[in-house]
């Protein structure tokens, strides 16, 4: 009898906790589904839906460049998902991707011993799981931890100096983790399992959608409502799929020094916020972490495909 009561109590506790866990991400899940629905509708038939989604695009762009019939998983490759011209160059470069040598450098860094005899393997036992685990909400610390933060904590915990958070070694090591996650076909699975995690998500969401800088733009002006449109000769990428392929090798970043060509997601976001006309938050600030947490959640269910390259 006592055992029966104990079992029932445990079952109720488990159910309640499962229900609560589901509740904490309810809003985020609603947002994600709405975002997927929006992009699928937008790119279903761009020419037919021009009045709703592409009022400023030319006939030529809509007929000959912007592809239609796209589904959620197609969006993981940024603007190459819909731009025929961009995709042609992308496929060509993909034959000999500029990321290869940096993945190898990253692997060397992963295995290199620290002065105390440990290595990154002591902090991150499984490179593929590491590549797929961040950003995550640490329930003990009650804050978002990004891969960049975790790598630097591993270094300092082992008596080493922190690395820069935008490029160089940081990006090279992250490319090794990303390549491992891609190889094992890991899927983005950001979890929101507490009220604090839900608050971090909402903070990031508000940051993304709030207008800022002297241009008074929010991120969505370009990457939700503006996605698929052209600014000068650049096609704007969509929020869906924006975090799945980092770190990224940008031809622009690598123009002067190829070792600087690979950059972290923080580097890209920082550049984007600067382009809005605002001093960006630091790469390890709460604002930046929550922003990446929100963005990553929007990509839940998509496969990792990093490291990748962009113009």
């Amino acid at each position: 009898m006592l055992l029966k009561i104990a079992k029932t109590t445990a079952l109720i506790a488990l159910t309640v906790s499962a229900l609560n866990a589901a509740d904490f991400n309810a809003q985020a899940e609603k947002d994600r589904i709405a975002l997927v629905k929006y992009f699928e509708a937008k790119f279903e038939d761009p020419l037919k839906n021009r009045n709703t989604f592409f009022p400023y695009s030319t006939d030529d762009e809509l007929k000959n460049n912007i592809m239609g019939g796209l589904k959620k998983d197609d969006f993981s490759i940024g603007n190459y998902a819909y731009s025929k011209n961009g995709r042609a160059s992308y496929d060509e470069i993909k034959e000999f991707p500029p990321t290869e040598e940096w993945i190898e450098v990253g692997e060397e860094l992963y295995n290199k011993k620290f002065a105390n005899g440990n290595s990154f393997a002591n902090c991150f036992a499984n490179p593929a799981e590491t590549g797929a685990a961040y950003p995550m909400f640490d329930e003990k610390r009650k804050e978002v931890i990004t891969l960049t933060v975790a790598i630097n904590e591993c270094l300092t915990n082992n008596g080493e100096k922190k690395w820069g958070t935008s490029k160089g070694k940081m990006a090279h090591l992250q490319s090794y983790f990303a390549a491992s996650a891609t190889e094992e076909e890991k899927v983005i699975d950001v979890k929101i399992e507490s009220p604090e995690a839900a608050v971090a998500y909402e903070d990031g969401k508000e940051y993304y959608y709030s207008q800022k800088g002297y241009l008074k733009l929010n991120c969505a002006n370009c990457h939700v409502q503006g996605a698929g449109q052209r600014v000068r000769n650049e096609s704007l990428s969509q929020l869906l799929g924006q975090t799945s392929h980092f770190p990224v090798y940008r031809l622009k970043w690598g123009a002067k020094k190829t070792e600087n060509g690979l950059g972290t997601l923080e580097r890209r976001m920082s550049g984007c916020i600067k382009d809005q006309g605002q001093v960006p938050p630091s790469n390890t600030s709460k604002e930046m972490r929550n922003l990446l947490f929100f963005m990553a959640y929007m990509n839940n269910g998509m496969k990792f495909d990093g490291p990748d390259f962009r113009k």
């Binding site: 609603k30 947002d31 589904i33 709405a34 975002l35 629905k37 929006y38 509708a41 937008k42 709703t52 989604f53 969401k205 508000e206 959608y209 709030s210 207008q211 800022k212 800088g213 002297y214 008074k216 929010n218 969505a220 002006n221 939700v224 409502q225 600067k274 006309g277 605002q278 001093v279 938050p281 600030s285 604002e287």
Partner: protein
């Protein structure tokens, strides 16, 4: 001398207090002709400090608004007609060159706009969210 220092402190404190209390108005507060360049740049300074604390400071063409303010303050001291603020990285001058009065007005407008648009965004940001305020 002591009196002068006290007077300056009191004036800055009073300005800080009044700027924090009255409704911000870019056009009115940043008008150099009406207020004088010293008052305009002092206003810029007060509001820009608030913007910085909130992570809202503007940056244009690699120039942080605080560096523009510093450049104007220096120009007021030296009487320079043109300012050439520092690059945000702090190691060299930027490519930006502006007429001093115009720079003061811009610095002031940037400082106020950073705060007013953030306040405005608190009620408008959801309008951009698909599935929430954004309809298509």
């Amino acid at each position: 001398m002591k009196k002068l220092i006290n007077l300056t402190i009191a004036a800055t404190a009073a300005l800080a207090l009044t700027t924090s209390l009255h409704a911000m108005d870019e056009k009115k507060d940043c008008d150099v002709k009406a207020n004088g360049i010293t008052k305009v740049i002092a206003t810029a300074n007060v509001y820009n400090e608030q913007a910085k604390k909130k992570g809202l400071e503007f940056r244009r063409l690699n120039v942080n608004n605080s560096d523009l303010i510093i450049a104007v303050e220096e120009a007021i001291k030296t009487g320079a007609k043109e300012v050439n603020p520092m690059h945000f990285k702090g190691k060299k001058k930027s490519k930006t060159k502006l007429e001093t009065t115009y720079a003061a007005e811009r610095a002031c407008r940037f400082a106020i706009a950073a705060l007013t648009q953030a306040k405005e965004a608190k009620t408008t940001w959801r309008l951009a969210v698909p599935g929430d305020g954004y309809k298509y």
